[in-house]
């Protein structure tokens, strides 16, 4: 029984560490800012989730208490990672207005909201 718990904890730590490493390595390797956005915001979040699962199992095994702070941290990271990715993408679009022609058209009367205002101005 002890062995199974230790194996589970070790597996979660190792998988979490590997995903964190892959996320940061992707940030180094990919050529463009928008491609670089994919790697850390997703793989790193999953890696930290794995590390938190490991700590939950560890403290349940050692002290017989279920400590829900880890679940709260994971939930918070999963809720805020898309928001930061969207903000960084939008600021990048704002800073590089000269690349506006590479974007697809919206098929609507108005353009993308970083460049065109809605309603009257």
């Amino acid at each position: 029984m002890d062995f199974i718990f230790e194996l589970l904890i070790a597996i979660h730590i190792i998988i979490g560490g590997i995903f964190i490493l892959v996320g940061s390595f992707g940030m180094l390797k990919l050529p463009d800012l928008m491609s670089r956005l994919h790697a850390p915001t997703k793989a790193t979040t999953l890696g930290v989730g794995g590390a938190l699962m490991a700590s939950m199992i560890f403290f349940f095994y050692r002290n017989q208490t279920i400590f829900v702070h880890e679940v709260l941290i994971t939930l918070f990271l999963f809720l805020t990672a898309p928001v930061t990715a969207h903000f960084i993408a939008k600021a990048h679009l704002h800073l590089n207005r000269d690349q506006k022609s590479t974007l697809p058209s919206t098929n609507r009367p108005k353009g993308w909201s970083t460049f065109d205002a809605a309603g009257g101005d």
Binding site: F25, P31, K42, L103, T106, N107
Partner: protein, 165 residues
């Protein structure tokens, strides 16, 4: 305004706040419950100007199914993208911008859709058109724009349309 709507404008938010307060303290004593209920009553009233309408969720069973499906997609797609980052040379990645026409109307539904698209690896939602009917998405590796758009619409937007009327 009825009395119920005035003192409890967002009941789900009140319950969620109470539960979060209890979870943060890791204790389930009566004093904590009373304080949590008090916070759950006061905070929605104080911030009620920031959420003018309630989202009308049609069925909560679909919400649970949606959350489980998104969690499964996150794990599977992260493994795929990890393989993509490690083993494929950079010149073979076809990154492209895709424009997704929306059929959802309420802001909460559009936010959930954009968040889900960002969480599943391979796509990041970047911008929205000025009248709110079209979403700009950046794909990491998509050979065909139409296939990617249709896949995202079938999987996520159809279910969100079921949830939010």
């Amino acid at each position: 305004m009825t009395l119920f709507k005035r003192w409890l404008p967002h009941p789900l938010l009140a319950i969620a706040l109470t539960v979060f307060w209890l979870l943060l303290n890791s204790r389930f004593s009566l004093g904590d419950l009373v304080l949590g209920a008090l916070l759950g009553l006061i905070i929605p009233i104080l911030t009620s100007n920031f959420w003018p309408q309630r989202p009308n969720v049609r069925s909560y069973r679909h919400v649970v199914i949606y959350v489980l499906m998104v969690a499964w997609d996150i794990v599977m797609a992260n493994i795929l993208v990890a393989k993509l980052i490690l083993f494929r040379p950079v010149s073979q990645l076809k990154t492209r911008w895709v424009s997704l026409p929306l059929e959802l109307k309420s802001p909460e539904a559009i936010t959930l859709l954009a968040g889900t698209i960002t969480l599943t690896p391979g796509t990041v939602s970047s911008d929205i058109s000025a009248d709110g009917q079209s979403l700009l998405i950046h794909c990491l590796d998509a050979e065909d724009a139409e296939v990617a758009v249709r896949h995202m619409k079938n999987r996520y937007e159809a279910r969100l349309k079921e949830i939010f009327t």
